[in-house]
Every structure is written in structure tokens, then in C-alpha cells.
Amino acid sequence: MTTRFAAGDRVRARPADPDGHTRLPRYVRGHVGEVLEVRATWALPDEAVRGVSRPEPVYTVRFGAAELWGSGLHSVILDLWESYLEKA
């Protein structure tokens, strides 16, 4: 499966607010992070709950505390499906 992003890329979590199930947490939406690695290829949860199988690349992305909260020195790292991301 081709990947749109690679380790080192800066990506933005889409500022979406879907009606149904998603695993894109609110606190990262609209924020810019750095791709650490391609984690795996998994079915997009937003579609899986509707019975649609849509496997896509999942990226481990690091966000700085200052970016997320305006202050702080720590990082928050989580996995984001390719559909959740856009190039920053």
C-alpha cells in the first residue's frame, strides 16, 4: 500500500468534527505534528463501524505541548489514520 507521508514529515490533523465514530481525538484536531514512523495498515474505524472495510496507512505522530495547549515542554504521541491527516 502506498503511503502519502513518511517519517519526518510535518502533518496537520484535520479540523473535522464527524457525526459518527472516529479515533481522531479532539485535542489534536487542527494541530501540526511530526510523523515518527508508519505504524501499520489498518481499517479506518470511521468506515469500519458502517461495515465498510477501508484499510489505510496509520502514522505515529508527535505533537508538542506548546502546539496543543499553548505551553508545556512534553510531547503527546498517538497514531493517526491517513484520512485524518493533511500535509502541513
Binding site: 489498518w42 496543543l68 512534553h74 503527546v76 497514531d79 489514520w81
Partner: protein, 194 residues
Amino acid sequence: MSGGHAELPVAARVRALEERVIAAGLTTDAELEEILAGVYASASPVNGARMIARAWADPAYRDRLLADGNAAAAELGFAAGVRGYLLKVVENTPRVHNVIVCTLCSCYPTSLLGPSPTWYKSFAYRSRVVREPRAVLAEFGLELPEDTEIRVWDANSETRYLVLPLPPPSADGLDSDALAALVSRNGLIGTAAR
């Protein structure tokens, strides 16, 4: 599972969900019982502690643990317990401290840590540890040096995280049982030094 829990409103919702799933032919009461019995019979932080103790004593195992947590767990007999997810082990160093959360719900590697503690499932932990980890860890009694980098791992996908704590200063000469006894469940989550 316990008399106290069965009276809670959420228990009624769980039973309703079970009945719907069973009625749809997706599983059976017996299968659910078997799964739960297997999980709760074997799920324990003793399992995670064994993996940590082995990593402390054996640098090659440590490397394998960090490269492929599922395979490393299987080496010690935990293959069945980690089958449903991707196990990622994150290593503490003198410069870096890792802590785990699931902000969306309360996922974590139950088979290696035992049933999750109430605080891990609380809104307070899930909302605060991503925002102010240093303060939250201090409330657990873990005061980290100012220059320690904190990494908070949010288990929002199929990945489940386990922290590899720093070995104690006196690790040399201890056998694997003694080393494992030094590892707590909170150390594996990251709310304790080890």
C-alpha cells in the same frame, strides 16, 4: 463478575449489548465466558514485570522487545494474550520518561498488566495527563527532574503501550525473580519510576 458491579446501570447496558450480539449469531454466552475466564485468570502485571526483568538482564532481549513487542512477549509465553493488538514497548532513559493513557476510552495491554485500575479509566486521568503530565505524575508521587523529557503515549489505535522502566541502580547480581519483583503495574504504565 462481582455482585457489586452487577447492580450498576452500565452492567445492564453491557448485558443488553451481549444479548444483541449473541442474538445476531456473532458469539455465544459460552464463548464470552471462556474469553473472560482466560483473560482474568492469566492477566496480571506479573507478566509485564517478567518481560522487563528479562530486558534488564539481557540486552539482546531488550533490543527485540523494543523492535517487536508481540514477538518478545511470545518468547515468554504470552502470545495468546497479545494476539489482539500491536504491542509497542517504550523505554525510559535518564533523559526521557514515558507515560501511557487512552484518552478515548481506557485501552491498555490487560494481559500484561492485569485489569485496569479505576484511576486509569477516570476522566480526570485521561484529560489531565496529556495536558499536564508532570503535575499528574507528582500526584502519583513521581517527581521528575526539570530537564527530563516527558512523552505521553495515547493508545487511540490498535497499538497498546508498555513502559520499560529504568533498572534500579542495584540490578547487577539480582536473579530474574528478584528483578521482576521490583517492577510495579504503575511502573509499566509510567506513573511510577518502576
